[in-house]
Symmetry: C2
Subunit: 337 residues, 2 copies
């Protein structure tokens, strides 16, 4: 791959410096590898996100107005180590507790948990909400095994709005948990991205196959299926999301009259053209089911380098979640009026 | 290429349907292949953009709040024919004239000009401003030969804001011309995108070469240079923009104390990671020159399918242009608070 980088071992540090610059003064780099908003009001319940680098514009690009207060940034496809989690926690803390909100991967959980312990030693109260929107990574009875994928964008958007008015860490934790419970995703991969340090692909897949439910690093999902047309693949993917809402005892099935958020995400090299063609079919599918789209997001928000692939995320809305969705937000990753 | 499409000959039509859906009711499809805002006030001086499809999210994704009123959409990499330009013109016209604002390509100019004549026959007054920000496509003394590339995003943003308050077509034309005069870009390509109908690449380039100043379809620029590091290539590209402002008799050179807009654009497969690493170096370069960045845009806004490449665009600001930049805007392509 012809990548425009400098030292392949320094990409995570250099991209973070660039990300801070993209905020034109609203954010700053803190410590080894954290990005934090400059203005966080005293007493605010803080929202901290984070995870591996290489998936830009998430996670670190979700710091911003009415979004996260900071992000703890790992190396490429690697969790942030505990000292980085701690430095970010200290930088966002305003005396009223810090909520960690990040994707459910073993490495992230281990490192954020140690970071939380270290923060506890500094008398900072921390609570954790894991994002597990990928319905193909485990059945609804085993949500603790599910991965977090693109659904993290609407989830962090809603938690970010909730954090502006939350009086307590309990309140923000409850809002974030609800946003997670209501958000489900399905992804496919057609071709891998490459690891900047080695130039090697993150996985292999035949030219005539699609990885259905494959994770954003190439983790196994439902299995491989033959390459399909947009209008065949889209309903197949949305069926899996509808089935998951139906089979999950913790939430009602998606039904006629429901309102949802819809995110069509590109994993990198998949063009906006393809996303829009899939979006067209998704809207027709949803209209057939009588499910109304309250707001649509589309584009490369959660990527894995130049991976080719797409995902759909659906958030089932109610009055509370709409209240978290409606306020404007601004960041490098996602902005809405 | 494993593209998620249906009929390769219908991609332009289907992506437009998807784009309309992405607006959740704010825009509608009009006629054969135009997208138009639903609410355009009576008497508004209308702003119409357009061009070939396949470069999503532009041009058609720049229709929106405080942006363009409509777009005339061509087939993949092809200008919209005159009947589509006419249908879009009629749909955005509110009795006070229509400004055409689009990239300077021979096919687009021919088709929009015929469309303008047809609109004249319907008593709609039309004026045209061409976008020619690509400094590598011709010297400053031959601007009529220059192509329009990613600089169109800040230009349409500023013209869109100007169109909200312009009393006359003259006034909007003058604002758009000024935004064009003040905006310059330089791009590079590392690898081609492919044409959806054929799967064929739009151009060829050696694995160890970069096309400096190459156009977004692979048109010739300054020439091929060896593959370079981000920190080597970035100043080389910005030097060309600074040199162009210096050599152009129509505008002052970029000088210490100037304020600019900076856009770091990915042509498709180039990752946000790479854009941010280049942005980091660009900000250091600009700081050295004493030029202040008023606002930064970064991401895949002007693409050519899965082309690998990057461009920098600089808009030299003054009080008038800042006034057009500051208002919020919202669209599928670009949103700011």
């Amino acid at each position: 791959m012809k990548k425009l980088i400098n030292d392949p071992l320094k990409v995570a540090d250099e991209l973070l410096e660039g990300l801070v610059e993209a905020y034109d003064g609203q954010c700053e780099k803190v410590g080894t590898r954290s990005i934090v908003k400059k203005e966080i009001p005293d007493g605010k319940v803080a929202l901290l996100v984070g995870g591996g680098s290489g998936h830009e514009p998430i996670y670190h690009g979700l710091v911003g107005t009415n979004l996260a207060d900071g992000a703890a940034c790992g190396d490429i496809f690697a969790a942030p180590p505990p000292d980085i989690v701690l430095e970010a926690t200290q930088a966002v803390d305003r005396g009223n507790g810090v909520l960690y909100l990040y994707g459910n991967y073993a490495g992230d959980v281990m490192n954020f948990d140690i970071g939380a312990e270290l923060a506890g030693d500094e008398d900072i109260e921390v609570r954790t909400v894991l994002i597990w929107d990928d319905v193909c990574s485990a059945p609804p009875t085993e949500k603790a095994k599910r991965r977090g994928i693109a659904g993290l964008v609407p989830i962090v958007k809603m938690a970010g709005a909730a954090s502006q008015t939350a009086k307590t860490l309990d309140e923000l934790e409850a809002a974030a948990k609800k946003a997670v419970l209501h958000t489900r995703s399905v992804g496919v991969s057609m071709a891998p991205g490459s690891i900047p340090a080695t130039g090697k692909p993150t996985f292999e897949i035949d030219d005539d196959k699609i990885g259905l439910g494959m994770g954003i690093h190439g983790e196994p999902g439902v299995g491989e299926i033959p390459m399909a047309k947009a209008d065949e693949l889209t309903p197949m993917m949305l069926d899996l999301i509808f089935k998951d809402f139906e089979e999950d005892a913790e939430i009602d099935a998606l039904a006629e009259g429901d309102e949802i958020l819809l995110l069509v995400n590109s994993l990198g090299a998949t063009t906006m053209m393809e996303c829009l063609i899939c979006l067209r079919k998704a809207k027709a599918y949803l209209a057939d089911k009588g499910v109304a789209v309250y707001d649509t997001m589309v584009g490369p928000l959660v990527t894995c380098q130049e991976m080719a692939g797409i995902s759909f995320s659906i958030t089932k809305l109610d009055t509370e979640l709409k209240g978290y969705w409606d306020p404007p937000c601004e960041s490098v990753c996602y902005t809405k009026l």
